[in-house]
Symmetry: C2
Subunit: 278 residues, 2 copies
């Protein structure tokens, strides 16, 4: 509603559930072109050379990290001048980004920036003022900008906590340290999975693997064993490891609030579980 | 977007800023009929007999308490079968209401129910399923209902605090006590104003006076004296007494979190200020 006005059409790169939902929602307001040959939530990021981009698109949308499929873009797409819109909800603050490459960056804060109830929008100034007439005022980027983000009463606690998290990031080495930590954690986990002789499995192509969400299956999806894994993990105080119902299995989230030391406890458990059940 | 579908038209009773904003927003989605002869934010609630209701309206909207004008409806409008929609953001939980009279009750929670960042909708079941195609999913009442209000990640802290406030209300005598307290507080304040021989003034007709928001002018709008009042009040630890920029002067809010004892401190100061400056 904020960006479709110029040509009434937009490009959507759909590689997982969140981009699929975004494209479906956008269809209410214009013509949506699917950039990938298979417009599904397949969990595959095709090579950039094969993308079918429409030069007349008002914008190109993608979701940088798909939490359910466990994929992450290892590059920023080149859209040949068309404004690039990214949902970075689950990867923002885990790596340095070149903000100048983007027209709009949107993110919900509850992964790496705070608590649920607040969304952030970073928008290039020349993209303001394109809202459709039917855009509700509270969703209108230009109005929000004109009113310094207090067009309506803001969610004060979520804003306060967002500030606290930014302070925490600064006092823990800043974005550079977050990126380093994110790499270290995900490398350790994937190494453990890949070194388990097929006991633990992650089917995402290596270059597209997410550094924040790691779906794991045990022995080709042995549900009994996976349930046992989750049960024993909970006994050891590790919760929320169940995979999303759409993909099943186990899912490990490595957001900034999960420390390397936290992960080591899981890794120890994974090794012990493998020994007892392989 | 959730209710205009049946006939594409709706009735708006505009008596203050909030209903004015609501009507202006609704115009994006259909034909809006102004129920009152003067479609302004006048702060006047005309007698019900003079309301110009459209029998074909999809709904009738009003704002029960206008925080800026300081008015409150002393009755629930009779809409002759047309669904009644009310914004009760600033009066909910200050008085008993007959929920069966309403099609939809909406309220932001930050006045009497918790902290900003959460809105509540109480809707008659037969009014679900009327959303326009362009309604964003996160604003679609039927979807929210189908997903038990967790279609998206909810603002967990605001929901938690909402629960705490409901517990607090229960442990302080429930809604009955809140209503009694609201009456007592507003009566004391209006009595003080009306007994000040015109030093303090509230121009709202007595039957339409708000029990939660009381705008006050001093000596027909003596801005110097009003500024002095605000300055001295702050010195005594009483903040946020400045009137909204649209109406000027002073505004006293008497939400449930303000106790009768809190108000007594203000009343004492008002009497002292009167003595020193009349």
């Amino acid at each position: 509603m904020n960006l479709l006005k110029p040509t009434g059409t937009a490009d959507y790169a759909v590689a997982g559930i969140w981009s699929h939902i975004a494209a479906t929602e956008a269809k209410k307001y214009g013509t949506i072109n699917y950039v990938f040959p298979k417009p599904s939530s397949s969990g595959i990021i095709p090579d950039e050379a094969s993308w079918s981009l429409n030069p007349d698109a008002s914008y190109v949308y993608y979701c940088d990290n798909e939490t359910i499929q466990g994929i992450e873009y290892p590059f920023v797409p080149d859209t040949k001048g068309v404004p690039l819109v990214v949902d970075m909800s689950s990867s923002i603050m885990t790596k340095k980004i070149d903000v100048s490459r983007f027209g709009v960056i949107i993110a919900a804060v509850q992964k790496n920036l705070g608590t649920a109830g607040l969304g952030i929008v970073i928008i290039r100034e020349d993209l303001l003022g394109r809202a459709m007439d039917i855009c509700p005022s509270i969703l209108n980027f230009e109005l929000l900008s004109n009113y310094a983000s207090i067009l309506n009463t803001p969610p004060v606690f979520a804003v306060y906590l967002f500030g606290k998290v930014l302070e925490w990031v600064n006092s823990h080495g800043g974005l550079e340290a977050m990126e380093e930590q994110s790499k270290r954690k995900s490398e350790l986990l994937y190494t453990t999975i890949d070194g388990s002789s097929g006991f633990y499995q992650n089917s995402v192509p290596v270059r597209n693997r997410s550094k924040t969400n790691v779906p794991i299956r045990i022995k080709n999806g042995d549900e009994g064993l996976e349930e046992e894994f989750l049960r024993e993990a909970e006994e050891k105080g590790m919760y929320q490891l169940k995979g999303h119902s759409l993909v099943g299995g186990i899912r490990v989230s490595l957001y900034n609030a999960v420390s390397y030391e936290d992960l080591l406890i899981l890794i120890d458990f994974m090794k012990e579980f493998l020994k007892n059940h392989s």
